[in-house]
């Protein structure tokens, strides 16, 4: 069942799909739905990522319901209808937690899900279910290494540089207040709160070619080290 579900979603536009086992990670109300289908779609400009994610979610729900399992679709964070009954429960759940548990990636220094192939450029949606699918292997630790590009490029110095690990999920990675106030002032000056530098700069999955960037980054780091030595 797991393989055919994954195949179906990948065939219909998902970039990555993983199954997470979440027993013991969920709050009481949703604890009986302890498997999560984590779906990631590569954000490309000019593409309606949200509509695609919604379609993939519906497909997952149909697939699982047809086989007699319960489902709870958690829509992407940016697409939450307010005012429905179920929307009260969305805040109990974290897409990134499901994604790391499903082995799709880790949480980078910039606080975002970093997928080895696509970096922080995935939009996530999740379907919780009680279907007994074998979970994928989770990623336990931050694999950003010594890279500090996002820290250096953050205009509001919001990134603390702490490293995420699955066993200590509440470490402060990003000072949200600083990040938010930067976006607020951006909105006032430019009309849009867009920042996203920590996404753009991340070498993982960058279109420019990961190697070039990491090479550049390594040079930067060695240069810096030499400078400090002097």
């Amino acid at each position: 069942m797991k393989t055919s579900l994954k195949r179906e979603l990948l065939d219909h536009g998902a970039t990555v799909v993983g199954i997470a086992g979440l027993r013991g990670y969920l709050s009481g109300e949703i604890a009986h739905l302890d498997r999560a289908v984590s779906i990631g779609v590569d954000r490309k400009l000019n593409e309606d990522t949200l509509a695609l994610l919604t379609r993939l979610q519906k497909r997952t729900v149909r697939f699982l319901k047809a086989r007699g399992h319960r489902t709870l679709a958690i829509p992407p964070d940016s697409d939450r209808r307010k005012g429905t009954f179920i929307s009260k429960l969305y805040s109990l759940f974290n897409h990134k937690m499901a994604a790391t548990s499903a082995g799709l990636g880790w949480i980078g220094k910039n606080g975002l899900l970093i997928s080895p192939g696509h970096g922080p450029r995935l939009s996530l949606a999740t379907v919780l279910t009680d279907a007994p699918m074998r979970p994928d292997v989770p990623i336990e630790h931050c694999l950003c290494g010594e890279c500090v590009l996002c820290i250096e490029h953050c205009p509001s110095q919001a990134i603390t540089g702490a490293k995420w690990s699955r066993s200590s999920p509440f470490t402060e990675l990003v000072r949200l207040g600083a990040c938010r106030s930067h976006k607020t002032s951006k909105r006032q000056t430019e009309g849009k709160p867009n920042c996203g530098l920590c996404i753009n700069i991340c070498p993982y999955g960058r279109r420019l070619g990961t190697e070039a960037i990491t090479r550049q980054n390594k040079q930067d780091i060695t240069a810096k080290a030499q400078r400090t030595q002097r």
């Binding site: 949703i30 739905l33 709870l72 009260k88 429960l89």
Partner: protein, 230 residues
């Protein structure tokens, strides 16, 4: 006009859409019901609501948990939004208006919303004050709308005590108004102690009690007026 068979099929689909928390099907067949000439009333009560009754049973039997219950309620509303404008006349015998809200300090409104849904379905005029409602506002709103019924909800023992104050104030201003209370810490004992007219264990009971209360209230008003006439 749809044949008896087709009519049955539509009602069954509506019922199942609610049980299976399938918003899309609920919408589709609500529209079909209208297009094919079914009474909106019929579609609501013998379709959507009959499904919700079943959901209530499944919830009690612990086959369904909170997320399923909420999604079922969303599916019901999806259908109701389409059907409600076409309801000609509700044949429940009584009609009334109700002020409803969660008392000050309490932000838990899932239960309150489900009770509200039942009133909506039954054709009551509902004045929903939302959650964390200042205690005075209940009294003011009751006087403004001259509602027959005031429903108070509290989820925490600390906020529950606020209901006592609202009940006392309401009684002072308007001794005839009927008051119902509900919520996790509330019991029949509490209702008696606080001087409420009714206590509802769940949404279905709330509706039944409410209808009974309004009937008795109308009777009382009639008697008073009859005396005056003499």
């Amino acid at each position: 006009m749809a044949t008896e068979e087709r009519k049955k099929e539509i009602l069954e689909k509506l019922r199942n859409a609610v049980i299976q928390y399938d918003e899309d099907t609920a919408k589709e067949y609500s529209q079909a019901a209208l297009d094919e000439g079914l009474e909106a009333n019929d579609a609501i009560f013998n379709g959507l609501v009959s499904g919700m009754v079943e959901v209530g049973k499944m919830f009690e039997a612990q086959e369904y948990f909170v997320p399923e219950l909420l999604m079922c309620a969303d599916a019901l509303y999806a259908g109701l939004d389409i059907l409600k404008p076409h309801v000609k006349q509700l044949d429940l015998g009584v009609k009334g208006s109700v002020v409803i809200g969660t008392v000050e300090g309490d932000v838990h409104d899932i239960g309150k919303n489900i009770v509200k849904m039942m009133f909506d379905v039954a054709g009551f005029t509902v004045y929903d004050l939302g959650r964390d409602v200042p205690l005075d506002k209940f009294v003011a709103e009751q006087l403004r709308t001259d509602s027959d019924l005031v429903c108070l909800s509290a989820m925490m023992t600390t906020t529950m005590t606020g209901m006592k104050k609202v009940i006392d104030d309401l009684r002072k201003k308007n001794p005839h108004v009927k008051i119902m209370i509900g919520g996790a810490p509330v019991s029949q004992d509490v209702a008696d102690k606080y001087g409420a007219d009714g206590y509802a264990k769940d949404a279905t009971n709330a509706l039944k009690d409410a209808i009974n209360m309004i009937e008795s209230l109308k009777k009382m008003k009639d008697e008073v007026e009859a005396k005056k006439a003499k």
